[in-house]
Amino acid sequence: MGHRDLVRPIVQAIILTVLCACTFRSEFYKITEQATTMAEAGHTLALPVMVALLVFARRDAIRKDIRRGSAWGPLLVAVAVLGYAATTWPFYFGYARRLQFVVAAAGILLTVGGWRVLWRCAPIVIIVFVAMPIGWNSFSTFVIRPETITLDIAAKSLSLLPSVFVELHGSDLHYHSSFTDGIIALGDPHRGVVIPFAYLTILIFVTYSRVRPLWQIFALGVLMFPMVLVANLSRLLLHGVLTIYGQAAPLDAWPRNVSMAAAMVLAYLIMVLCAFVLENLVVADDDGLPSELTEDDAA
């Protein structure tokens, strides 16, 4: 298929995306507002760029696989519209409303290019899902225990610092040192839930930033969850060190933002390292052809 043939699906995708944004406009505004005002939801702003880069990485495969639109596409879009309506009235669930974007995105891809294009663009659907800002209260029951364990580990680790004792009090870490006392990570529960999704978004992006054999995708997928936990713990530890030695006030933004950004970079570097190791574990056959099942083959 030549470049001219791509005009139709691209224009159709743009039209449907704009209509989709108009249909779900109230949630669209809320997501934009959260992403621009909450540092921990800022990764949502990078979504268009990440999506564009993922499409660019798969441009040849997508071009090759574009078919007539599937009848399942409008059906999925209809499900998204009905889901959006039902989660607005009579049941109001903000996060469930947001997830209709994911269903609609899958529907648009099916409508424009068919099943094979949806498979090619599965990483985009996944990344849209993960990047939707999440509400903390809805998931507090599920996250309180892992969050408490993370805070417990952080308290014990920070207590190993010379002349520093840290204890968990509610959802805050209280520290006593020879030079000052204070609180670390005041009001962290919300960030503790939201930020792991930012890390997960980065890790998914790194995984799919190039077309890989499926075994590598599975391996990186398995590694993602411990990596998110490690990144989140690193964030808390760094936050603690900066607060204690920088003598920051509990609500100071700088230790929070620095630790969050540093942990993001750490998550990115670890994932890139893992991907590099995996890529170099398997050497191509003598004939130069890859010997593993790839996304292409699976499609």
């Binding site: 298929m1 139709r8 449907l16 108009c22 639109g69 009235w89 669930f93 209260n137 809805s138 309180i144």
Partner: protein, 247 residues
Amino acid sequence: MSSATSKSVSRGWMQWPFAVCAGLLLLAALGLDPLLTNLAERYRKTSIMPRQPLANFSAECLPSFKPAPEGSPFIDHQSDNDVGTDDILLLRLQEAGADGLDGQVLLFVTYYSDPDDKVPHTPEVCYRQIGGVVRSIGSAPITLSASRSPKQTTARSVVIEEPAVDAVIAYLFCTNGRFETSRNAVRLAMGLPGDKRVYFCKIEAVTSSPRGADADPAMARCRKLLGEAIPVLINDFLPTQEDLRKR
């Protein structure tokens, strides 16, 4: 891709899946918000008061419990002023056969009837705000004593580590006669079609246990209290199903 397929792909900008999809989204963009606003206004549920104030609840209704002695020390409870309603019941009780500090338990009931309520924080969230550390969250079966309500239900069990003792809590919500254990389930139940009026009520039993000790005996006390208190609340205080269907 074959040339025929390529032709069919490039040809026909108004392929029917695209046309249907675009039409659907256009229609939804223009009409969905006004439609939902109208529906929400037309079928809006209204609030309903309990049949009698919760303050009328008496410990005499509970065969296995008596009022706790005046001034006896007890675990701290979350701020009573911050529960978002005036319909509150806070009873300090003690198991009928116990003396001194043994067998004390708190019955804490709050009643809400705002159709737009997002459901307040649950104990595992609120206790953290006053310094408690959540050590376990699970479920606890409750056997209800004779009543019109179901014989068995489930409460959520929570153990919170506090500075001196562990707070052991069992709680559930009653939403328009349905028992639920999570705020999402309550919100879902509040939206269900059928009833014209809406309420939900959080029923919570709190007791203490020595720090780090087995919480089962304390949890059994909470379960027993809920098993006796819930039927009384359903029979004498909370609105009936008939009342919920009337405007």
